[in-house]
């Protein structure tokens, strides 16, 4: 079935006689870079008065410049397609340079306040800077940071783990911004794929985009009892959007997007159900039957998607 030489090589790998430490080295580099960036942030925080603002700004700038200069020297020619990393450390020094530069910019803004009351605009500057780096050096991690930094500029935090699930954004303006940012990201992702420029950035933009759209709608749908907000329109919008996304993803064979749409639909339907059901037994009966029904629907959808892809 296989040529002898290739077969011998593959058999060595399969038997565990040849093992790649590539993933372990990448993890070590990633952890190293985040520790250095964290140490730099802590250095600035703890020594604001002692070191002096100019030293800090120049030190951070020099470190960032050194990292980015190495990246610029090593980088292959620009391409709109996917470009393999020229060096194991390439992606990580790029990330470190980007983080240090952004920290430096934030520090300068904090210490010297060039933007004054308009200080959040520096987040937009950072987002644009990250985007430029991501496109030029073909980094999906920096691209994801560009998107989340843009969202942060609009007041939308994607640090979901630090927040309670029912209090992601709370503020109506932030929620609206989350939905708008999400729609914009999904659109950008679609455009990237359509024009064939950095098309491999599309999954990050589209998944983050839909997560923000559905999260914003779900956040609005969850507000009623606490804030007395208009939960019903949000719930109906969540239902419609989730159904549309699920249908679209089903046609395109995008499994994760289909899952996001399906969960959104279940969330919306359950939100409506618990609003009208009050007895404990009825609530338990609803979740029992609806979950079983949902499992059956998922099994059917999975089979159909498998047949069509």
């Amino acid at each position: 079935m296989l040529p002898a030489e290739k077969g011998a090589f593959l058999a060595r790998v399969a038997r565990g006689e040849l093992v790649s430490l590539r993933a372990e080295l990448r993890v070590a580099l990633y952890l190293g870079v985040t520790l250095i960036a964290g140490g730099a942030a802590l250095l600035v925080k703890e020594n604001l008065d002692r070191i002096g603002p100019l030293t800090i700004a120049l030190g951070l700038g020099a470190a960032a410049a050194a990292c980015l200069a190495w990246v610029a020297l090593k980088a292959p020619r620009f391409s709109w397609g996917e470009v393999p990393s020229p060096h194991l450390a390439f992606d990580y020094l790029l990330l470190l340079g980007a983080l240090l530069a952004a920290t430096d910019l934030a520090y300068i803004e904090y210490r010297f306040t060039p933007l004054g009351a308009g200080w959040p605009w520096h987040l937009l500057v950072v987002a644009v800077f990250y985007t430029a780096l991501a496109v030029r050096y073909d980094s999906r991690v920096v691209w994801s940071l560009a998107l989340t930094t843009f969202a942060a500029w609009r007041g939308v935090s994607v640090r979901f783990l630090e927040r309670e699930p029912w209090d992601w954004w709370g503020d109506p303006t932030v929620r609206a911004n989350a939905i708008a940012c999400g729609a914009a990201f999904a659109l950008v992702g679609w455009l990237l794929k359509r024009v064939g420029r950095k098309a491999h950035f599309e999954p990050v933009a589209v998944h983050l985009g839909w997560l923000l759209v559905l999260g914003g709608l779900a956040d609005g749908a969850s507000q009623s009892t606490r804030l007395g907000g208009p939960w019903l329109p949000f719930t109906l919008a969540l239902l419609a959007t989730g159904a549309a996304l699920g249908a679209l993803a089903f046609q395109l064979g995008r499994f994760w997007l289909f899952a996001m749409g399906a969960v959104a639909v279940y969330w919306a339907v359950s939100r409506l159900a618990v609003e009208v059901i009050h007895r404990d037994t009825a609530v338990f009966a609803y979740f029992t039957l609806s979950a079983i029904g949902f499992v059956v629907l998922l099994l059917v959808a999975q089979r159909r998607m498998r047949e069509e892809t």
Partner: protein
């Protein structure tokens, strides 16, 4: 495990390897198809996302059904026991005649079976035998360990083995000689599990299950031998016992604490064992944090920066050393990518970066706080780090 399920697992392992070879361009599509035809898969498997969804909604349905029966006025431990047995039968039918391996629903039924049987049994022991809290915890941990072990053995659920091992160590912690057990049992069990897991007579899932149990045992040893955990009485607190205090045991712990990371790493590298290499990495990280707790090396920022620099340099030196070997490999280790290793790391990097390196968002209009600075771990932008 049923022989047909074990055979299906072996075939699936070959198919997965062929798919990875195809993705890496090592074989052509015709060869991959030929492999698939020679090793047919007769199981129903779900894609990861469907696996998650199906498992989640099956568990939701099972728990809601239990709540429904209990809320309907039948508040008796017989309810979870009966429903747990039904879940076990459902799992057996799905893993067996229905051939639903890695489908989400079967695994969820197995999980429900363990959960409901443990709840029902503990409820019975509490109500009828009036066991105190200590005995109840012992019974619960012993039952979880036994049932999870059975689930791992019968249905090849790898994660259940880790749960079983963790529950077993929690049970041991309840004994008066808990810490000694945490020190001695891994020293005996880990090599045994390591050797057994290499047996090709075992099904692939059983081998992985044993590896997971080995990792849990080594982590338990790392915790038990850690001086910080010793002084804080971590193991003793699990049984609400007083800390052990200084003595011969602490000296032994210190010896194990110093040896464990090095031994694990050396054995992992010599055996080209990625499980052990990852475990050694985790143990080294914990040891470094413990060392910093007792020995003040300098300000935290310097320690973080130096640790990061050491990691980066170590990774680059390792890569250079491996690259300088014949065919870019040394002792069967290489820094070159092989078949799909990197994809999961890249995905994890994306998720972790978005969750931790993103700057704090600007506050909504009306909130006066001005909090610029680096993110907690260097993410540029507004946060409270400065």
């Amino acid at each position: 495990m049923r022989p047909d399920a074990a055979a299906a697992e072996r075939a699936q392992a070959v198919r997965e390897a062929a798919a990875a070879w195809r993705e890496a361009g090592e074989i052509d599509e015709a060869t991959r198809r030929a492999v698939d035809e020679r090793f047919p898969d007769d199981r129903v498997r779900a894609r990861p996302v469907f696996h998650l969804l199906l498992a989640g909604f099956t568990v939701l349905a099972g728990l809601a059904a239990t709540g429904l029966v209990l809320a309907a006025g039948r508040e008796t431990p017989v309810v979870p026991i009966v429903l747990g047995l039904l879940a076990a039968v459902a799992a057996e039918v799905q893993f067996g005649p229905l051939r639903r391996a890695e489908s989400g629903t079967a695994g969820a039924c197995a999980f429900l079976a363990v959960l409901l049987l443990v709840v029902g049994t503990v409820w019975t022991l509490n109500r009828d035998l009036h066991l105190g809290p200590d005995a109840t915890i012992r019974a619960a941990t012993a039952l979880v360990a036994t049932l999870s072990g059975l689930v791992a053995w019968r249905w090849g659920m790898r994660a259940a083995a880790a749960v079983a091992a963790a529950a077993a160590f929690l049970f041991l912690a309840q004994l008066p000689i808990g810490r000694a057990c945490w020190l001695v049992v891994p020293l005996v069990a880990a090599p045994l599990l390591h050797r057994t897991s290499r047996s090709t007579r075992l099904a692939p899932s059983h081998r992985t299950a044993l590896r997971l149990a080995e990792v849990v045992a080594l982590l338990a040893l790392a915790v038990a031998s850690n001086p910080w955990a010793h002084d804080a009485g971590f193991v003793e607190r699990l049984a609400e016992l007083p800390p052990a205090g200084p003595g011969i045991l602490r000296t032994l712990c210190l010896g194990a604490f110093l040896l464990l990371p090095a031994v694990t790493l050396v054995v992992g590298l010599r055996g080209r064992d990625r499980w052990l290499i990852w475990t050694a990495g985790a143990v080294v990280a914990v040891s470094a944090v413990t060392f910093r707790h007792y020995v003040h090396l300098g300000p935290l920022w310097a320690v973080l920066t130096c640790a990061g620099a050491v990691l980066v340099v170590a990774a680059l030196v390792t890569r250079r050393v491996l690259d300088s070997g014949q065919n870019k490999e040394r002792r069967g280790l290489t820094a070159e990518p092989l078949f799909g290793d990197e994809r999961k790391v890249r995905l994890a990097e994306l998720a972790v970066s978005m969750a931790t390196l993103t700057p704090e968002a600007k506050p909504p209009a009306g909130e006066p706080s001005f909090r610029p600075g680096g993110g907690d771990f260097g993410g540029g932008g507004a946060s409270d780090s400065f």
